[in-house]
Symmetry: C2
Subunit: 338 residues, 2 copies
């Protein structure tokens, strides 16, 4: 009968245990690398508002969808999008199988490190490079290539693996949101399989919560050997308006929390803001010329202009990296990145 | 110090409580409407194998992806796909705004209930009807239309709401898998927003785990009024090879469990089967002319021919609805559906 009627001391013990739980939880500071300031305050008050049952702002866990851009929001994007650096590395790795590249632009420019010729090749040139390095193979083979590069390549400035060029405060934010019942998504212009090669290990975001740019794919069955072949044709460009479009198509629910860093995130932030009830819209503002990079309105990469104006006009959270983040990367920033 | 050193009686109580948990869990029969037979046995032995830690077949929860076709697998698809019946109803509802439809095929045929003319219009005609009833409006507006129809329409044979034409044993299977740490997905040729209008309430499957056929969509910002406009152009046909393609693009992980009922599910089952480790592949075989419908190789809807041969050849689970399901629908089947 002990199961039905525990001794009084048992009850006391259970009770003390129950009391202890919230104290223990509170004891662990969830956002150690967010300095006390407007951004940390906005994040914490939003999360506490939507997770407090019985209040008008309460949001049930199933609807706690949080979306994050990747390049410039979760990891760095300077001096060039890391996926583009991967593409260049792949051109070098694949060159022996493509002798014609020695004379063929934009590949010639990549092989010779001819930045002017690369710049001249523009977006068309880049798409040729991405096509040649990202398609014509199976998802499995592509993922293996991305993993191999991520395992050995280092960032030109920090000399650290690219998977360490992630923002420690944002890792803490992702964990804090998940601990509060949020489902955290990446919604990025990056190609989806490239991001999935590291998102689960680095961000704790499983493949099914990574949304990005996609190529048309084709199921192949060659004498019972099955594969998904990546075709050299964009299926969806997950940038700008493409972000709310993919959120609607893949998540099917409007986020209540969105974080970006550039004009390519504006429509995702607008879409999040336009929902009913309490919402959170945030921008990482790259203001830290010493520990990371300082850029916004005039930057070729991660241009932040219209979105910054709208954030200021509408009172969205704009994170001043230089003053609000205690540490930028998981490693102590010794290097000056500029 | 009570927290650190509970009384011996407290320990005894906690211990007895821990012991009690598995017993309580085992007490509840998870699949009451699956009769003891090969299918129930195959399902239970698979789930126990992949969820038993420390065994060679163990699969961590994050990788327990289960995919289900919808039409004919989770709910009925006779005498016609329910979404097509919705399209016809929408043509009637919208007719006053389209006087031209009175003289214009295939709309004229729908309005006059002219089955021969409809059949003659074929797939092109059907796509015109689907286009006119599923696109040119926002996802929000379309979802409202689907919800309104589902709330009042009844099945022509059973006179029950379509959301009750779901298979009770499959509802139990979905719950059983989720209780064992599986993430349950719909991967169906049905249009994704149509399925999302009822999947969460009826199947317990949230919108982000519903994958289906999609139309190209376009983010709209009209003077700050935002919407996602559905364009009359297919983005992805989620049938046949389209199923492993969308699984790869959206889930990014290969399922270990797949259930279908027709040749349109064959590639999804093959893709699931081709993974390493233990897998489960199942087919609902419509053998119950009295309580539901009996059809397979020669059926216009839900044709099951190649997939049945492959299932038999490879020892996949084929559910004999007539003999293996105690009850077919949540309601007691009185009506003879034929």
């Amino acid at each position: 009968m002990k199961l039905l009627s525990p001794s009084p001391s048992a009850w006391r013990w259970i009770f003390s245990l129950l009391l202890a739980v919230p104290l223990l939880a509170a004891a662990a500071e969830p956002l150690p690398n967010w300095k006390d300031g407007p951004s940390k305050k906005a994040i914490e008050s939003f999360v506490s508002a939507v997770t407090t049952e019985g209040t008008k702002d309460y949001v049930p866990p199933a609807e706690r969808i949080a979306v994050f851009d990747n390049d410039g929001t979760l990891w760095s994007e300077q001096p060039m999008y890391f996926q583009v650096l991967f593409s260049y590395a792949e051109v070098h790795r694949l060159a022996p199988q493509h002798p014609e590249w020695k004379e063929q632009q934009p590949f010639k420019a990549v092989l010779e490190g001819d930045h002017e010729a690369l710049a001249a090749a523009g977006m068309d040139g880049l798409m040729k490079i991405v096509g040649a390095t990202h398609t014509g193979i199976s998802t499995e083979a592509f993922t293996a290539n991305a993993e191999a590069w991520l395992a050995k390549a280092v960032h030109p400035k920090s000399q650290k693996p690219f998977t360490e060029m992630v923002y420690q405060p944002m890792l803490e934010l992702l964990a804090y949101l998940r601990a509060n019942g949020f489902k955290t998504y990446i919604v990025s212009g990056g190609e989806v399989a490239f991001m999935r090669a590291f998102a689960e290990e680095v961000y704790g975001i499983p493949p099914e919560q990574v949304i990005g740019t996609t190529f048309v794919s084709q199921f192949q069955n060659q004498d019972g050997k099955l594969s998904i072949l990546r075709m050299p044709k964009l299926a969806h460009n997950d940038d700008g308006p493409g972000k709310p479009e993919s959120i609607d198509a893949i998540i099917g629910r409007r986020p209540i929390f969105a974080f970006g860093n550039s004009d390519g995130d504006l429509q995702m932030l607008q879409w999040t803001a336009a929902g009913s009830g309490k919402r959170f819209m945030g921008l990482v503002h790259h203001t830290d010329a010493k520990r990371e990079w300082a850029y916004d309105r005039d930057s070729k990469i991660g241009k932040l202009d219209k979105a910054l104006d709208e954030a200021n006009a509408k009172g969205w959270t704009v994170v001043d990296m230089a003053t609000e983040w205690a540490q930028v990367f998981p490693f102590a920033s010794a290097t000056n990145m500029q």
